[in-house]
């Protein structure tokens, strides 16, 4: 009855949501304290008295969120390219098992659900920073940084999918099909 894929996606979306939410709250408080900008925490969230100070804190807070998003995507892409069980090298597999870090090896379902979630967050962040940049609530270069992170990570993700889908020349199968041309009358 339950879609396994949706349950897997929900399972994979919890940690990124918590990570990004924590990054936002911690960065807002830390930046406001570091820059000595007064703010109030009300029902409407963080309220600043000066629009210019709000723009500064909001911009750097979103930059920190984008950096956290970029680092998480980089970690995921490294796992996808190096530790993917379909194209991990035997030597690396043996090394990982010898140091008991075999949990780094991921199957395609785990990797692609994680990838879908992280890239969804990246594009949602891109749309959000774009909207905020249009209304001058953040510096416009934050939007370009987020867009670059999203596009580059998407390209690397597509590259990994191509590695998965593209058949290898030496895939271990016998491609000799001459036996199919056997004359059936001789049998």
């Amino acid at each position: 009855m339950f879609s396994k894929l949706l349950i897997k996606l929900i399972d994979q979306a919890i940690i990124p949501a918590v990570v990004l939410l924590s990054a936002r709250i911690i960065s807002m408080v830390t930046l406001a304290m570091y820059l000595e900008i007064p703010f109030e925490l009300t029902k409407k969230g963080f309220i600043f008295e000066d629009p210019a100070q709000f723009t500064t804190v909001n911009s750097y807070s979103l930059l920190i969120m984008s950096v956290v998003l970029g680092l998480s995507l980089a970690f995921f892409l490294i796992r996808a390219h190096i530790f993917h069980d379909t194209h991990i090298t035997p030597k690396l597999t043996a090394t990982l098992f010898s140091v008991r870090m075999q949990s780094l090896i991921q199957n395609s379902l785990d990797l692609y659900t994680k990838g879908a979630i992280w890239i969804s967050y990246a594009y949602l962040m891109t749309m959000l920073t774009g909207a905020l940049a249009i209304y001058a609530y953040i510096y416009s270069w934050i939007f370009y940084v987020t867009l670059a992170i999203s596009v580059v990570s998407t390209l690397f993700f597509i590259w990994d999918i191509e590695n998965e889908v593209r058949p290898s020349k030496d895939d271990g199968y016998d491609h000799n099909v001459t036996f199919l041309e056997v004359d059936t009358e001789q049998i």
Binding site: M1, A17, I25, G45, D50, M125, L128
Partner: protein, 94 residues
Amino acid sequence: MKALNKLLVNMGLFSVLSMLLLVPIMAVAFAGFTNKALEQTEVLSAQDKADDAEEHVELYNDVPVELEELIRKIEEEMYTQENGFRPATNPVNQ
């Protein structure tokens, strides 16, 4: 019936997933600024304008302009009583 149940359950799961995806976006929108500083600036600039306006008040014998008409009427009345006729021009300006 079974298909409808499956559809509803999966719609519920999808809405949970959407909510999870929107959590960081909501967190970003959970900040703003008040117009206190703007309002204070507007009040101060209005006060400055009022002060400027007061500085440029034309005085009529060291009396504010608002009283000019009243004083003029009283002086005209006094002139009429003394001379028996109304002045042709403003006696103050003579």
